[in-house]
Symmetry: C2
Subunit: 221 residues, 2 copies
């Protein structure tokens, strides 16, 4: 099964702007991509990165997934994924590049679930990963994509399943999402955040993230 | 296995104050409790509600779970649950009352997972449900309870497992969480929200909730 990981190489993770500078967001986005690719590889698949612009695929990316195919498509996500679906014929899996908590087990549950269309919902009505086995299904990532994908599957007569996964349901978009990486992450993404000075702030109530000044980080970077 | 559902009957869901009046929060909290109890019952278990004050167990609650035991304990959550663990001996499951998306399948995955301690993580480092099969384990729901429960299990030499569930990971605390109920809910909780005028607002970008003025609701309440 073709496994596609869409990646915004131009301006990744802009909503993390309040806590990360642009070059830090780029680094963190690559760390999350590496974690996702490594998890895909651990399920026995060779991922294709669908990038909005050419990327340097070396270092942690190459280490995570040596046989990755890079394909560049600068169109919006929906159009780029639909082009893959039209071109491929046969099952296609799509896994977002910011699923920093993805594990091989969670992905295998997605890949092996029955259904012409299998959705892994994200928070806020999103779709964080999906498998498409129906040639007439097309995606729609604008707005409440989970509801739209259900409707589209229904429209084309495709059977639909969902996978119930906290790990696949956690896409990392906003500063509050960094808590999830620090609590549950085990790979390059959490290492990256720690090296950038992030740690959990546990004040007795809710858990938050805090960022240490560079001078106090003790040379961890 | 004793299955305990702690319920704050005194001032439930205060963080929903910006969008729901106190009597509406009480009604919504009971609807969520009914959904959780129904899901527990569907796994073949008879739940115990551990309530902070006496509650009227009629209407949708009785319909959802006719054989529920009500036990009143006005102590804070940690102390009340620890008292159950001390008293019971043998496996105890704890399921929070605001898991409006809980399904029998998701709960069964929790109940049947191996491990002296089994945790269902919630967002923000929380613990939304757990199973305790080790007599020396005690809970700590202050702050980052997921990390604390891991540590406590380690301290007492209990094996620990986690269940990976978006549904169990979604506790409904804040206005933004209502989106999840409207998107994924199928029971009394979503019916309650709709009758209170809530619906999804789909503006093309992120999904949000909106609340209709009572005069425009068309008698749905």
């Amino acid at each position: 099964m073709q496994t596609v990981v869409p990646f915004d190489a131009v301006s990744p993770k802009t909503r993390l702007g309040p806590v990360l500078a642009a070059h830090e967001r780029a680094r963190f986005a690559r760390a999350m991509l590496a974690d996702v690719l490594a998890a895909v590889v651990a399920t026995g698949r060779e991922p294709t990165v669908l990038s909005t612009s050419p990327i340097s695929f070396e270092g942690e990316l190459e280490a995570a997934s040596p046989n990755t195919t890079i394909r560049v498509d600068d169109r919006p996500l929906t159009e780029a994924i639909d082009a893959v679906l039209e071109r491929e014929g046969g099952p296609v899996a799509v896994v977002m590049a910011d699923l920093a908590l993805a594990t091989p087990g969670a992905l295998e549950a997605l890949f092996s679930a029955d259904g012409d269309v299998v959705l892994a919902p994200g928070r806020g009505g999103g779709t964080n990963a999906l498998v498409v086995r129906d040639d007439s299904f097309r995606v729609d990532f604008h707005g409440a994509s989970y509801l739209d994908h259900r409707r589209i599957a229904d429209d084309v007569g495709a059977s639909l399943e969902t996978v119930d996964s906290f790990r696949l349901g956690t896409d990392v978009d906003e500063p509050a999402d960094l808590v999830e990486v620090l609590v549950h992450g085990t790979g390059r993404s959490v290492d990256c955040l720690r090296s950038l000075g992030f740690e959990l702030e546990r004040t007795g109530g809710r858990v938050d993230v805090t960022r240490l000044e560079e001078s106090t980080r003790g040379g961890r970077e």
